[in-house]
């Protein structure tokens, strides 16, 4: 049976091969990180696009605007904590400007600037859904967060904002940390090892180390809207348990038929706002080992629509079926 099983699978996957393009991607990743770091306390290096792969059916606006529009809306009613922390190494100054935090996420705003050049020339790159970012990143990073002995690099995203029309400004980045596991207040640290960027298609790498200690004082004010409504799909019953509203993002918790939740029709799954706007889904992941809870994230930074609260939402549409939440 094993032979038949393998043959059938291989026949169905005959076009699935690890080709030269993918091998080259691995070699590039190795090349980017093969230089010894002065400090290698860091977590697994995450290269090129690892933290930058936001996507979504509706995410066609540049992420610069998405972040800024949503952040501006949030700042109207909530103020982050200014940090103003800078570290210079290898000719590069990394600054952490501000921290925001709520129940679900902690966000850090920062910049990277060259000490020798007035401007850093960095290429943009565009992901599959048309969202543009600066083609830059840290080679390794880790965060030590309050009340948690282990470091966190998994569960963190660092997005370098695209540089269109902003060539004379420092390169901006936004860090998003999953915050559900750590204390509301305390002291955290961030360590960045190595910085890479591409300029005119040429890879540049700086072997620096930038370390910060900063206070976390977030509010447990992420909004949760309990829903508890089920729908039937071809793959079984799924239940929308709740919606979680963070400062800049919205997520949903689901339970029920695992395969339904991982086989949804993405183009017909979105958050429907009372204004008629839609926010597409971005991703989903299993929350527990038994696969009973699934967390779905909608398009990052609310797709540039500003901060959204429970009152703004009319329904969640899952694979074309509308689940009213009001």
């Amino acid at each position: 049976m094993r032979k038949i099983f393998r043959e059938e699978c291989n026949a169905a996957l005959q076009n699935v091969t690890f080709d030269n393009r993918q091998q080259k991607a691995v070699r590039m990743r190795v090349e980017r990180c093969h230089k010894p770091r002065r400090r290698m306390r860091g977590m697994v290096a995450v290269a090129v696009a690892a933290a930058l792969t936001f996507s979504g059916a509706f995410a066609v606006q540049a992420v610069r605007d998405n972040i800024r529009n949503t952040m501006a809306s949030w700042e109207d009613t909530h103020t982050g904590t200014a940090l103003g922390l800078s570290q210079s190494d290898a000719g590069l100054t990394v600054t952490l400007d501000e921290i925001y935090g709520d129940t679900w996420y902690v966000y850090l705003k920062g910049t990277v600037a060259s000490e020798t050049e007035k401007t850093m020339r960095v290429d943009n790159w565009t992901n599959r859904s048309g969202t543009q970012y600066a083609n830059a990143g840290f080679c390794d990073w880790e965060f030590t967060i309050p009340d948690q002995k282990t470091q966190l690099s998994h569960g963190s995203n660092i997005s370098f904002l695209s540089v269109n029309g902003q060539e004379d400004a420092p390169l901006e980045f936004l860090i998003r940390l999953s915050a559900t596991d750590f204390a509301l207040t305390g002291e955290a640290s961030a360590l960045f090892n190595g910085f890479w960027y591409e300029a005119d298609g040429e890879l540049q790498e700086l072997d620096g180390c930038w370390e910060f200690t900063f206070p976390v004082d977030r509010n447990d004010d992420g909004e949760t809207l309990l829903v508890g409504k089920s729908i039937q799909t071809d793959a079984g019953t799924v239940t929308l348990d709740c919606l979680q509203f963070s400062a800049l993002d919205i997520s949903a918790e689901w339970s029920g038929a695992n395969e339904a939740l991982f086989g949804w029709d993405q183009s017909n799954t979105y958050l429907l706002l009372k204004s008629g706007e839609r926010i597409g889904c971005q991703s989903a992941g299993i929350e527990d080992e038994n696969g009973e809870k699934t967390r779905m994230e909608f398009a990052p930074f609310n797709n540039g629509l500003g901060h959204i609260s429970a009152d703004d939402v009319q329904a969640v549409v899952f694979a074309g079926q509308e689940i009213p939440v009001t």
Binding site: C9, A12, V16, L152, G155
Partner: protein, 190 residues
């Protein structure tokens, strides 16, 4: 629940407090030839990850992560084969992908259709659909046993679970597969 990685290739779950070593001290390692490994095992690992994740794009990321982590670790223990070592890393990478919604863990709605459309030209996809319908923990043992050919004891070592657990999961997976495959073909000892 928080999953995390260590820079030297350790992967663990903090609640359990069990950091699972998948690399050995330098003195115990066999040299790792990245180029050779990618040519020799890349496609096989990609198909395994594709079947496990049900998403070809995600699987490509997983296999690239696998080779990168293998390279970062510097080598593998001589007592297990190189492919077994890489398979273990790949499975752990896939598990972390499935368990984390933040690290590109995308269960794209069009993934399955795209996978099946891209993967073959008219080939029977009944088996793949059936396997993908299993919960990840069952899917893993089925793939490692029936696709990769590992014995229950070896799968237990790969997944860091007891052999009885593997046997039990295989039994339950077979029970779930049986009705889905009865119209196609099915042997009692699948």
């Amino acid at each position: 629940m928080q999953y995390f990685f260590h820079c030297r290739g350790l992967i663990g779950r903090k609640e359990e407090g069990t950091m699972r070593e998948i690399t050995a001290p330098p003195s115990m390692r066999e040299a790792f030839d990245l180029d050779h490994a990618m040519v020799a095992y890349g496609t096989d690992l990609l198909r395994l990850c594709t079947l496990y994740l049900g998403d070809r794009t995600l699987a490509e990321d997983a296999v690239q992560d696998t080779f990168f982590r293998a390279w970062r670790s510097g080598g593998f223990r001589g007592e297990s084969g190189e492919k077994t070592w890489l398979t273990r890393i790949a499975i752990n990478v896939c598990k972390s992908y499935l368990l984390s919604p933040w690290h590109k863990r995308r269960a794209d709605g069009e993934a399955l259709a795209a996978l099946l459309a891209d993967a073959s030209d008219g080939a029977d996809d009944t088996l793949i659909r059936a396997v993908l319908s299993l919960a990840p923990k069952y899917r893993a043992v089925v793939l490692l046993h029936y696709y990769e050919g590992y014995k229950a004891r070896e799968i237990a070592q790969l997944l860091h679970v007891r052999t009885n657990t593997v046997v039990s999961r295989l039994k339950r997976a077979r029970e779930q597969l049986k009705p889905m495959l009865k119209e196609w073909y099915y042997e009692e000892n699948i």
